[in-house]
Symmetry: C2
DNA sequence: CGGTGAATTGAATCGCGTCAATTGACGTGG
DNA sequence: CCACGTCAATTGACGCGATTCAATTCACCG
């Protein structure tokens, strides 16, 4: 009987199977249960926003299923998606008082919510959690810096190739025939706003990759990578 | 007599007048002295590199004077400057084993160096330092995310305006006549590689701003902002 | 089956990049 | 102190990659 099994039968964390990277994994099981009871569960459907740009940042969230986009909107409507969040990712643990970005669910989504004050109490009392929070922030920073290179210096084809291998690494899976499958739950417009392109350019580059037999589309939201080395070569040393 | 004065007369930290944001400010004075003795001073002249992309990351550095650029180079020579570091900024406190970016001095530069292992010992023993380190990482992350918006969605004019108000906030000062002076110690090429443009475009946009009487050049490396609201309007809601 | 919204494709345009020439800043040696 | 050399910055002419605008085409759902 593992420690994990000691959680009460209906405890949500019991079935929470997110990546071992999740922050809460820094807590031992009893503390985790305690921590978890501080918060609540949250369900969102496609297009619902978790918070808007400028909203007070008084909660932290842990994504347990679904995909969330984090974005900024400029006064004239231009939009930049700063990150896609996958299960296991955290949101809202910045130090500012208000959210610098908006967060919106892409499909059906489940999150754990904890009041930031409570979260910080745990951080103060459990060094392992503080450490995990720091490591997470540092990792996000490294990712953000890589993305600066992409957005500042890469061509459309390179951006798309990098994006696909990124998603493949984070959410890709194998088909029963061993196929290298990559889900694309977000719209072409979302991909464009993530890569600093337009949806038309994203579409064109996808057909280029298709014509070059580097990828194959199973549906609009599921592609297969036929030539991983081709993708890697295009991604040009980044996101190896 | 302040606590600070208790540092021995020749102690480098005594004259270290970097921003109160510097990480070492999280330590009390005796500990600071102890901490400081772990490391050494380092001088670089223009163009000297602190470390290369891929070098083992076994030291942390605190910039006490000068300006340093942090950048990535792609296989075909394209370059993206990820950050300019000013006095008070820290480098190298990422969690990875090796540096993801290169660091190079722009002019004469002084740094404090501490072995990362030593630094981490202090982090483990002084919660205030751990807290400061986290806050710094979180702040850097927020800045990096703002820069994604700039690099992904802003025009050349907006990028330059945002850059100038950025530098003004971090390194700007007042002339004796109250002039709003901004130093530009880095080359046009550096600015271009920071903003995801070319040096020619940077130059053109600077002359546009000059013709629009928004800025005035005192020399190649010192400009005056004549119309801060004009700059702010161009920067388009970002970097307010 | 329509009908609706997203994705794709095509054609024209434009902002920025590229390449080349000129100007300017600054140090050096006569 | 001035002439010259060097290298960065500026300016100009032109080209290209990505955007914009406008059709289709496609996927999906009542």
């Amino acid at each position: 009987m593992t420690k994990r099994a000691m959680l009460s039968k209906d405890h949500p964390c019991r079935s929470c199977d997110v990546s071992a990277e999740a922050l809460c994994r820094a807590l031992d099981v009893e503390t985790l249960a305690d921590f978890r009871n501080q918060g609540g569960r949250l369900h969102l459907t496609a297009g619902q926003t978790l918070f808007h740009q400028g909203d007070p940042a008084d909660c932290v969230f842990s994504l347990t299923s679904g995909v969330v986009k984090l974005y900024a909107i400029l006064s004239d409507g231009r939009r930049q998606i700063v990150a896609f969040l996958f299960p296991g990712d955290f949101v809202g643990f910045e130090t500012q008082q208000s959210h610098g970005f908006a967060a919106e669910a892409i499909g059906d989504t489940t999150l754990c919510r904890v009041l930031k004050r409570r979260f910080e109490w745990f951080v103060d009392h459990y060094p392992a959690l503080a450490e995990a929070r720091y490591r997470r922030a540092a990792a996000e920073l490294a990712i953000a810096q890589e993305r600066m290179v992409t957005l500042g210096r890469q061509t459309a084809a390179e951006r798309l190739a990098g994006f696909l291998s990124d998603i493949q690494r984070r959410a890709g899976f194998r088909g029963r025939d061993g196929a290298n499958l990559v889900p694309l739950p977000m719209s072409r417009g979302d991909i464009a706003d993530y890569l600093g392109l337009t949806k038309e350019t994203v579409s064109r580059e996808l057909t280029n990759l298709r014509k070059a037999r580097v990828i194959r589309s199973h549906s609009l939201t599921l592609i297969e990578i036929l030539d991983p080395r081709g993708i890697g070569a295009l991604a040009c040393g980044l996101a190896a």
